[in-house]
Amino acid sequence: MSADHHHGPASGITRWLFTTNHKDIGTLYLFFAMMMAFLGGAMAMLIRAELFEPGLQLVEPNFFNQMTTMHGLIMVFGFVMPAFVGFANWQLPMMIGAPDMALPRLNNWSFWILPFAFSILVSTLFMEGGGPNFGWTFYAPLSTTYAPPSVTYFIFAVHLLGMSSILGAINIIATIMNLRAPGMDYMKMPMFVWTWFITAFLLLLVMPVLAGAVTMMLMDIHFGTSFFQAAGGGDPVLFQHVFWFFGHPEVYIIILPAFGIVSQIIPTFSRKPLFGYTSMVYATAAIAIMSTLVWAHHMFTVGMPLVGELFFMYTTMLIAVPTGVKIFNWISTMWRGSMTFEAPMLFSIAFVVLFSIGGFSGLMMAIAPADFQYHDTYFIVAHFHYVLVPGAVFGVFAGVYYWLPKWTGRMYDERLGQLHFWLTFIGANLTFFPQHFVGLAGMPRRIPDYALQFADFNAISSVGAFLFGTSQLVFVVILVRVLKDKASGRLEGAVGERAWEGVEGLEWTLPSPPPYHSFTTPPSIR
């Protein structure tokens, strides 16, 4: 082998700035996501501190609104989505037997857009009039006529991060369609590859529509058009339709990669192949297609015709069918498996159980007449945090614990991992479960103050949030320890190719940590 041809990473900062390597870019995505998670988490802590007791204690209502808005935007666009793209970058080439992503330079660009997008977004907090305060759904006219002047920066930031997602999605699809090792048919691809393949198509379908929505806002604000202004013949309800045409598929963009991660982990620690692989693939595709037909269930109360309410109610309920198929497949995979309960498995099992709770509260809200009561209450907050936190976020944790030994060649501290899981599990449930009750009792969302009757459950929720928040520091400790071990070259805790017993898949045929370029010669597939 000639020394210069298969070079390793460059050294210093330029390695990270100019890298086109899928592992480096994956690492960048994951670290960026973690920073954003702590930033968005800090905002959540502030929100829960304000809501610890009734009355206004810590922050101005307008700043509170900025916190809820930014918390949502940062967690969705800055944490969960980049984290899953990070997983895709690290794992897809290794799982399909490719040397790298199909479009490495584009890959570099799609990551480096993100820090700029979020610098712009976060800087609005320090501008005159404050940052976006209209909720992460930025309904017009709140985000147009009544928006703070910084809204233009917000729009530009959304354009940038949308661009980043679209470029990432193009890269992922191009990789999966063209770089599979010989013999890796579509129906032999690991579930994580499948879920990302479908997610990437969803991204391409709806991110441009989001870009269109914010462009229309921009034109309404600065160029005198009236897309969403009733006075000029526009319609604010149109904004909600356009937004949710993006917004609903977006929630599946967030959850499908987590489905994929869990579908890798549960078979490993049950020591059985995934139950119903084919039905898993079709269920994922069905969820993706149906997700584009249900958007108006977010807006049952805008005054739709009865036929519209019924259509969106039934299609929404139908999504429970493919989702149920997946849940039952995961349970069937565990059935009579010789299970062990390492941290990735614990997070995955918690994912299945708690995501189902979130799914069921979703079914409750799908019932249009009942939704008139739930609309804009804390019940909604409880529901989507149950699908996002024990759903997407637990998926991220599970994936990190599962693949960290592969990425670094070192096993993490299992005892700390267990501690992290249990603190997170208790913290998350303590935070979000009581929110169901206050929501049903009528506490509206996005308010800094509330009626006395909601005080006890809010206090419990806040205590849970502080526990949930601080216990994430355990995760940082685990990560730092592993990286230190790797840097010092300590051999204690080093793992072989197959870091877990009974683990299957192409990535586990590579050494741990894997070489800089994954498969320079395509592997053979059985």
Partner: protein
């Protein structure tokens, strides 16, 4: 990467990019699609902004007039936030009208209470939404923008009838107008169309 896969990657990437552009266009296409959809279904209670024509039936006994079943029509006048005008519905704020009967004339009242010349636009909304297409306006102040000098007041005419095709189960129709301040919009339109002198007001 072999040349073959490189070509494949390039092809895939360009196709996907084209799809992205297409979807960006689709986002904007949603606007006219939504308009058409609303007009067809009466979603949102949007009424037609073009004057309707009323053809009087030969006699009131003709089947096109449902003389004995009347529908209650209510009239509302609402100011949007920060609109300083006085805006009033007709004195008879409620009428019982036979579907298909001869058109009815009503006047709304507006008074510019501010100290500046303003232009306003009234936006109609009909509830229930599906009644919107049966409320036919022959003349309406909402068809044009209304300019009022500071302190001036005016009568705003409305002439409409209820179509005889109105479904039986609708007993009450509410017609509400919301008044919006469009002075800035009108000013920018005036400067855009170049011809009229823009310094008229000063």
């Amino acid at each position: 990467m072999t040349d073959k896969t490189e070509g494949g990657v390039r092809r895939t990437a360009w196709r996907l990019a084209a799809g992205t552009v297409l979807m960006f266009g689709f986002g904007f296409a949603l606007v006219p699609l939504y308009e058409v959809f609303c007009e067809l279904t009466g979603l949102n209670g949007k009424t037609n902004n073009d004057p309707a024509a009323y053809s009087a039936p030969a006699s009131t006994r003709a089947p096109t007039v449902r003389e004995h079943e009347t529908v209650r029509v209510q009239f509302l006048a609402i100011n949007s936030t920060e609109m300083p005008w006085q805006f009033q519905a007709p004195e008879t704020s409620e009428l019982h009208i036979a579907p298909g009967a001869a058109p009815i004339d009503l006047t709304y009242y507006a008074h510019n209470m501010s100290d500046r010349d303003m232009v306003a636009q009234a936006v109609p909304s009909v509830s229930p939404g599906r009644a919107a297409q049966y409320l036919r306006k022959i003349e309406c102040f909402c068809f044009q923008r209304q300019a009022l000098a500071a302190g001036a007041s005016t009568q705003l005419p409305l002439r409409f009838y209820i179509s005889p095709e109105l479904p039986d189960d609708i007993g009450t129709i509410t017609l509400s107008y919301t008044l919006f301040d469009v002075s800035e919009l009108a000013a920018s339109d005036a400067t855009a169309s170049a011809e009229p002198p823009s310094a008229q007001g000063s």
